[in-house]
């Protein structure tokens, strides 16, 4: 057994668009990501980075190849087994936050515990997660009553709920101003320093520079895979220290 959290070999994925147009989004991707890494996945649109993200997040299964997440082969799992993996092993952060508009921050954060884990002290755990991202005082607010940065922090708190192996962020700063972006990146970096694995899809070099490894996709394959020698520290870039974490 290798120590890799993610092991991908020869993954292919083809989408049907309409009646007889097919798009081969992934054409044999190989990738290994160890626990505790912070990886940026970059690439122009159509390069397959979003599809790779969906496969990594177990939202979609590849047509061919092998994907082992923490030693489990994912490709052959049923829908419900995939749902359980998403629930327990993966935390998602989306560009558009994807919070449920009718629930307040606390209830949004609670959501993964509604579908998994025991129901006990759901409230307490959700409150702790909210406090961790600096939003302890916003528990009763609805998403529409919060700024984009705050919403994204709620989303991060939600992603942390079941103590996942993997944090997956899809353009997490795409809808945020630069200050909020820095705050969000600072949170991700801090989480990574606590040895959580973070994978971030982005097309902004600025964002990628905060990661320790950058994987570039092109035409459905990994085109380039390099280490970042000195990642930028987002916490230093926030003009006035916001104390987002503590």
């Amino acid at each position: 057994m290798s120590t890799a959290l993610i092991e991908i070999r020869g993954i292919e994925k083809t989408y049907r668009m309409g009646r007889d147009v097919t798009v081969q989004a992934l054409r044999g991707v190989n990738l290994a990501i160890a626990r505790g890494e912070m990886v940026a996945v970059m690439g122009p649109s159509g390069s397959g980075k979003s599809t790779l993200m969906n496969v990594l997040g177990c939202l979609d299964v590849p047509d061919a190849g092998s994907y082992r997440l923490a030693g489990t082969e994912v490709r052959t799992l049923s829908d419900d087994e995939l749902a359980e993996i998403r629930n327990r092993r993966i935390g998602f952060v989306f560009q558009t936050f994807n919070l449920l508009p009718r629930l307040n921050a606390l209830e949004n954060v609670e959501l993964p515990l509604v579908y998994g884990g025991n129901g006990q002290d759901r409230r307490r755990k959700a409150r702790e997660a909210l406090e961790l991202v600096g939003l302890g005082d916003r528990a009763g607010h609805r998403p529409s009553e919060m700024s984009g940065g705050q919403q994204q922090r709620v989303a991060i708190a939600r992603a942390l709920m079941n103590d996942p192996d993997l944090l997956l962020a899809d353009e997490p700063t795409g809808n945020l101003d630069s200050r909020s972006s820095a705050e969000i990146l600072a949170i991700f970096q801090e989480l990574n320093e606590e040895s959580r694995t973070v994978i971030m899809v982005t097309h902004e070099p600025d964002v990628a520079e905060h990661c320790r490894r950058v994987v570039r996709m092109r035409d459905g394959v990994v085109h380039q895979d390099e280490r970042v020698l000195r990642p930028r520290r987002a916490a230093d870039e926030i003009a006035a220290p916001a104390g987002a974490l503590h």
Binding site: N54, G57, L59, D60, D79, D80, A83, E84, R86, N87, R88, F92, F94, N98, L99, L100, R102, L111, P112, V114, Y115, G116, G119, R158, N162
Partner: protein
């Protein structure tokens, strides 16, 4: 996902779209209310028919003369002379103690009554001495006539409570006399003086007619003095020992009369034996059909309400595609999504069902207030069926939208704008 969470989600989404939810529910409310109200009317009518028939006395077997068709000649039916007091006597001997009571009736038509200057008009019926037992009709005062009154064709009468109060007012009618007069042919009036010996207990009205306005006289008196139809009776009424004994008693009555009337071909009988049980069963099936029909009309509106539920649930699933995607991304399984939407639909229809019961009850109460003669009856069974059906409609019409929601692919759902 715990059931409680599903319920909370269901209630929340109903609360968010208050107007839409209440309009959708209205369909179910009206449907359930109309089932309740319609079936209440049907059940009420059925109960009324049944109690009317039973109020004439229970376990009754009625023998009436029957028209006889021989070759091309057709007999006179109820007017014919083929059922007599002697037939009753023979049945009495034959049936003996196996029956509770027996009596023979002869209608004597309407007569003008006069007593101490007061006039009244009543139906006069000739009956025999066991009438109170057969009809389960006790006397309020005085006594009924006995065998000797019947044998002697005496001019005695037992009168209904309405007749008594109209003729005698506050005075005690027992022992008083009254005159019966009928305009016979030409201008000659016949006047007969009867002595009142008893007053019947009040029975109230059925189908709007008072049952307490009548004069009972001995059958023989009705035959010989009032109608001149000596010997013939309109009906022989037998009260069987029990409901179970009715079939056997009916057979025995038929055989006895066949022998007495010397009829060999059972096809050409000159009498008709009617069993009250059969009558009840026949009426039951009629009112049952009636109730079913009314229920079906209500059921159609309930069905329409159910389709409304399905429609709104489909819209709701469509609108919340993204929500479903988010829920799936954080680990909701198919059955979590399915149960969420099913419970939402069931909450809609269940609440609608309960409100519908209230509305249905209010409608039946209103009907009672407005017109007390319309019989209505809500039975626990009706309520149970209405609630069960409305929840079932939630399941049936909620299942398809919920399945569509559960089957959504997480990525497509998340991408949905």
């Amino acid at each position: 996902m715990r059931l409680f969470d599903s319920f909370r989600e269901g209630l929340r989404s109903i609360a968010v779209n208050k107007l839409r939810s209440s309009l959708t529910m209205l369909g179910v409310i009206i449907g359930v209310a109309s089932v309740i109200a319609m079936v209440a009317v049907g059940t009420g009518a059925s109960q009324q028919v049944q109690s009317t028939i039973l109020s004439l006395g229970s376990n009754l077997i009625t023998v009436t003369p029957q028209a006889v068709t021989q070759a091309t000649l057709r007999g006179a039916g109820p007017q014919s002379q083929n059922l007599t007091l002697e037939d009753m006597g023979a049945l009495q001997r034959e049936l003996g103690d196996s029956i509770v009571a027996i009596q023979a009736e002869q209608q004597a038509g309407r007569w003008q009554l006069t007593a101490s200057g007061t006039n009244w008009n009543s139906q006069v019926i000739g009956v025999t001495e066991q009438y109170p037992m057969v009809r389960e009709w006790a006397l309020a005062s005085g006594s009924f006539f006995d065998e000797s009154h019947v044998d002697g064709a005496q001019l005695v009468a037992v009168i209904g409570s309405t007749t008594a109060s109209n003729l005698f007012g506050e005075n005690d009618p027992i022992g008083q006399t009254m005159q019966l007069r009928q305009v016979a042919g030409g201008n000659r009036a016949r006047i007969l003086t009867f002595r009142v010996i008893g007053v019947l207990e009040p029975k109230g009205t059925t189908f709007g007619f008072s049952r307490d306005d009548l004069v009972l006289v001995p059958t023989t008196t009705a035959q010989r003095v009032l109608t001149g139809r000596t010997g013939a009776v309109n009906a022989i009424v037998i009260k069987a020992a029990s409901s179970e004994a009715m079939a056997a008693t009916t057979d025995l009555v038929r055989e006895t009369l066949l022998v007495r009337h010397k009829i060999e071909d059972p096809e050409s009988v000159d009498f008709l034996v009617q069993n009250q049980n059969d009558t009840l069963a026949a009426l039951d099936s009629v009112t049952g059909t009636f109730t079913l029909l009314l229920g079906a009309i209500g059921g159609i509106s309930l069905l329409v309400g159910g389709i409304g539920i399905m429609n709104i649930m489909l819209v709701s699933v469509h609108e919340r595609t993204r929500e479903i995607g988010i829920r799936k991304a954080v680990g909701a399984r198919r059955r979590d999504i399915l149960s969420q939407f099913l419970i939402e639909a069931m909450t809609l229809t269940g609440t609608g069902g309960l409100l519908g019961i209230l509305l249905g009850w209010a409608i039946t109460e209103a009907v009672k207030r407005v017109n007390a003669s319309v019989p209505v009856a809500i039975t626990p069974g009706t309520v149970a069926v209405a609630v069960g059906v409305s929840v079932a409609i939630g399941i049936i019409f909620g299942l398809y939208p919920a399945m569509r929601a559960a089957r959504l692919h997480p990525i497509e759902a998340l991408r949905y704008e």
